[in-house]
């Protein structure tokens, strides 16, 4: 029943928030309209979103978010420094292979987002069976360390959240 | 500012015209796109009181509704229509171009084989 009438509550909530943000208004009319749209749009586009999303452990989410913010900021500084002072480059750029245990597409998508918004790291390729991830890094000192960091800092929380 | 915009229109139009005179259909369609940018900017520049900065024609309470406070909305409406029609025509031309390419086997505008045409330049 819930599946049929409210296919994606999280999405609906997000859309509702989006609506209020866009209109920067909390009037009754907007709340009603936002709720209505937040309910209707997922329903109408349901056909194109076949993957159910289940999210658990809000605490982990928060932790992960903080971790991401921290990592992103650090790598930003690294990249800026790298660009400003190219002479002080310490390591060459290279591809890094990371074996994966995470299989959930949503989790992988979040991982991709994290990797991609982190400067100096780019998602290069994922194997077809999702068992292996290839990243490209601007500076690679120790591939194993990087792999371990990705697995511990990102993959594990993600597995907790999505699986 | 006006000079820059005028020059910009000129460059866009010139590039478009150059491409219009080329023999390949793809050059033609890019040329038409560039030309339509030029034309859109040209129409846009015809507004009352010329170009206006930070005078969007979105009314604010208490600001007198005249042309010294708001940009001329009419050319904007015209450009909007022109953009849409230009888009439609680009799409149509593209498909005609593809069909011509499919039927004639070449992407020359006259549908002749490249080897026959000395003018594939």
């Amino acid at each position: 029943m819930r599946q049929r009438f409210l296919p994606a509550p999280l999405l609906s909530l997000a859309l509702f928030g989006l609506w209020l943000l866009l209109n920067h208004s909390t009037s009754v009319g907007h709340i009603t309209l936002g709720a209505l749209l937040g309910w209707a749009i997922p329903l109408l586009t349901r056909g194109l979103r076949p993957l159910p999303v289940r999210v658990r452990r809000p605490g982990t989410i928060l932790r992960l978010a903080l971790q991401v913010v921290y990592d992103t900021s650090m790598s930003n500084f690294h990249v800026v420094r790298f660009l400003l002072f190219p002479r002080y480059r310490r390591h060459p750029a290279d591809f890094v292979l990371i074996p994966l245990d995470l299989r959930d597409p949503n989790g992988l998508a979040v991982l991709a987002m994290i990797v991609c918004i982190t400067p100096g790291t780019a998602w290069a390729e994922i194997s077809r069976d999702r068992s292996m991830l290839m990243l490209h890094l601007l500076e690679v000192d120790d591939a194993a360390k990087i792999a371990a960091h990705v697995k511990s800092a990102y993959e594990r929380p993600l597995m907790e959240i999505f699986e | 500012m006006e000079t820059v915009l005028a020059l910009a229109i000129g460059v866009l139009a010139g590039s478009g015209v150059w491409l219009l005179l080329r023999p390949r259909t793809f050059q033609l369609i890019i040329g038409l796109c560039l030309l339509s940018y030029a034309v859109n900017l040209f129409i846009f520049s015809m507004g009352r009181k010329g170009l206006a900065i930070a005078k969007e024609p979105v009314l604010h309470l208490g600001v007198p509704e005249n042309l010294s406070n708001y940009a001329d909305p009419l050319p904007q409406a015209l450009v909007l229509t022109a953009i849409v029609i230009g888009f439609a025509m680009t799409a149509l031309f593209l498909v005609v171009l593809l069909a011509s390419r499919g039927m004639a086997g070449t992407d020359h505008v006259d549908g002749i084989k490249a080897q026959d045409a000395q003018e594939m330049l």
Partner: protein, 565 residues
């Protein structure tokens, strides 16, 4: 019947919307029908066209009864702020012509042509909407929009049925017209920039007021705008797209296209008489001589093209060019009497060219027994080999051919008569309207001097050239058309009777009847066109009607519902 017109007249001015909205609604409705429902689509389309024709005639009737044009303020905004539709005699005339040709072409298409692609009738309806809109609108930019509707639909119709020739011709046609549209936009926007208005009537008022320093720009804008319209009116040297394009189109589409060049002429006529009328101050009659020269060169090129053409559709295409050149040149003179003749000549030549397109289809099918494609090699000149081969001696009975006539099958006779009629109209020979139209223009060129011995105003050189071209182009057309006619109807006697479907015959017959009606009712038609010409020559009536039209006043807050006009 008069009751019907009266009754319809009570619906003015809303009636003016019908020629635009009716085809559009019909087209939209047809889109909602499934593709299998061809029959109902045809029914719907025909019904709508018949209704449209009735309304167009009612509008014609209305406008012939009313000295001032009808004005419709769309959105209830007074001119020059909103977009106004204006129905004067000229637009009413064009509307009737449009709907008549469209109805015939659509009936003709019922027999076979609609099947060669999808959405034929939908596009047809939209084309009609564009045409009607272009004739009715009183706003320059809105004119552009309706031109685009018309062109977009014409692209679709031209490409209807696909095939290499159509696509190739379509590519050129689209490319040229896209550039023309850009020019149209540039010209329109410059005019707006200089006068601050887009309403044609208001433009007419503003143009004399343009400051002297801006007049060069104004003229430049007008010239660019005119170039865009001249491209559509197929003036030389920007008319090369026309013949391949029109002849590649399917027959009913070709017939409808016969009208399209006239839209260019109409627009030029409308804008030029409004903007650069003799009361336009320093800009009075701007560019008239260019129109004249361009028109005359076009006439010549069209006539030469007719003479050189071997395919009937090419013949028809060049005939369209000639007629459009004639009209342009006549426009350029700016004489009311000439204008009256021109306006009478316009529908008849358009109808003739439309019939020619339809006939060409029937004849080509006859010639090839409806099987193979037409031999499209235009580079050879078959007529030189067997009909025009120079022979030396003359003896009347060498061939010993039977001196017994061959009966002509009814269908062939029908086609032949229709062809003869087209020949007469295009060449301007009596007794049909083509002759009367040309005569009207000729007499206008050489007006009667009041009395013998009165000081004479000798006509100018351009008058003479136009005079000679009017007659000479008719002659060349006569040579070309008789050659084609003899080749198709007389020389080829072994063939079986042509197969014409009832609807095809009906379409041709209807248009033919229209030409005949135009001839028979020449006095009233000419009366109508000369009052049209007088109106065009004196645009103040038009301007006043548009600018003095008042929107319906706001009744104020009425109960729960507040209505903003």
């Amino acid at each position: 019947m008069p009751d019907l017109w009266l009754w319809l007249g009570t619906w003015m001015p809303h009636l003016m919307l019908v020629p635009i909205l009716l085809p559009m609604t019909t087209g939209a409705l047809m889109l909602l029908l499934k593709e299998e429902h061809q029959r109902s689509k045809i029914m719907l389309s025909t019904l709508s066209l018949v209704l449209g024709l009735v309304v167009a005639i009612a509008l014609l009737h209305w406008s012939s009864q009313h000295p001032t044009p009808g004005v419709y303020l769309s959105g209830n905004w007074a001119a020059p702020f909103g977009i106004s539709l204006v129905l004067d005699r000229l637009s009413a005339l064009m509307l009737v012509l449009t709907y008549a040709i469209a109805l015939a072409a659509s009936v003709f298409a019922m027999a076979r042509w609609y099947k060669v692609g999808v959405h034929f009738y939908v596009l047809f309806q939209f084309q009609l909407m564009g045409l009607a809109g272009a004739f009715l609108t009183g706003d320059l930019f809105n004119l552009f929009v309706f031109f685009e509707i018309m062109l977009a639909a014409s692209y679709g119709l031209l490409l209807h049925g696909s095939g290499r020739l159509r696509v190739q011709a379509g590519l050129h046609y689209v490319a040229i017209n896209l550039v023309a549209s850009s020019l149209l936009l540039i010209g329109t926007s410059m005019l707006y920039g200089l006068t601050g208005t887009l309403n044609m009537a208001d433009l007419a008022q503003q143009i004399p007021l343009v400051v002297e320093a801006d007049r060069a720009l104004l003229h430049s804008a007008a010239a660019i705008l005119a170039t865009a319209f001249l491209i559509k009116a197929a003036v030389w040297p920007v008319n090369f797209w026309l013949v391949p394009g029109y002849s590649a189109a399917t027959a009913p589409v070709g017939a409808l296209f016969a009208l399209m060049t006239k839209v260019g002429v109409y627009t030029l006529l409308r804008l030029w008489t409004l903007m650069f009328s003799s009361s336009a101050g320093a800009s009075a009659l701007f560019g008239g001589q260019w129109l004249m020269v361009g028109g005359m060169v076009t006439m010549l090129v069209g006539a030469i093209g007719m003479l050189a053409a071997t395919r009937l559709t090419y013949l028809a295409g060049y005939a369209a060019i000639t007629s459009s050149g004639t009209l342009l040149a006549a426009t350029g003179f700016g004489e009311p009497a000439l204008l009256a003749g021109l306006l009478y000549y316009l529908p008849s030549s358009t109808l003739a060219v439309a019939i020619l397109f339809l006939l060409a289809d029937a004849i080509d099918r006859w010639r090839t027994h409806g099987t193979s494609q037409i031999d499209l090699d235009d580079e050879e000149a078959p007529f030189l080999s067997h009909e025009l081969l120079v022979t030396d001696h003359m003896n009347l009975d060498d061939e010993e051919q039977a001196l017994i006539g061959r009966p002509i099958p009814a269908a062939a006779a029908f086609l032949g008569l229709a062809f003869l009629l087209c020949t007469l109209v295009v060449a301007g020979l009596p007794p049909l309207s083509g002759f009367l139209g040309k005569l009207a223009m000729l007499t206008a060129l050489l007006p009667l001097t009041s009395a013998v011995g009165s000081p004479l105003l000798l006509p100018t050189a351009s008058t003479w050239i136009f005079f000679a071209l009017l007659i000479g182009s008719g002659l060349l057309a006569l040579i070309a058309l008789t050659r084609a006619g003899i080749r198709h109807f007389w020389a080829a006697h072994e063939r079986a009777a042509p197969e014409i479907r009832l609807t095809e015959g009906l379409a041709i017959a209807a248009l033919t009847a229209l030409v005949l009606a135009l001839t028979i009712h020449a006095p009233s038609a000419l009366h109508y066109t000369s009052s049209t010409a007088a109106d065009l020559h004196n645009p103040q009536g038009y301007i006043d009607a548009v600018l003095q039209a008042r929107p319906i006043p706001n009744p104020g807050a009425a109960g729960q519902e507040e209505e903003a006009p």
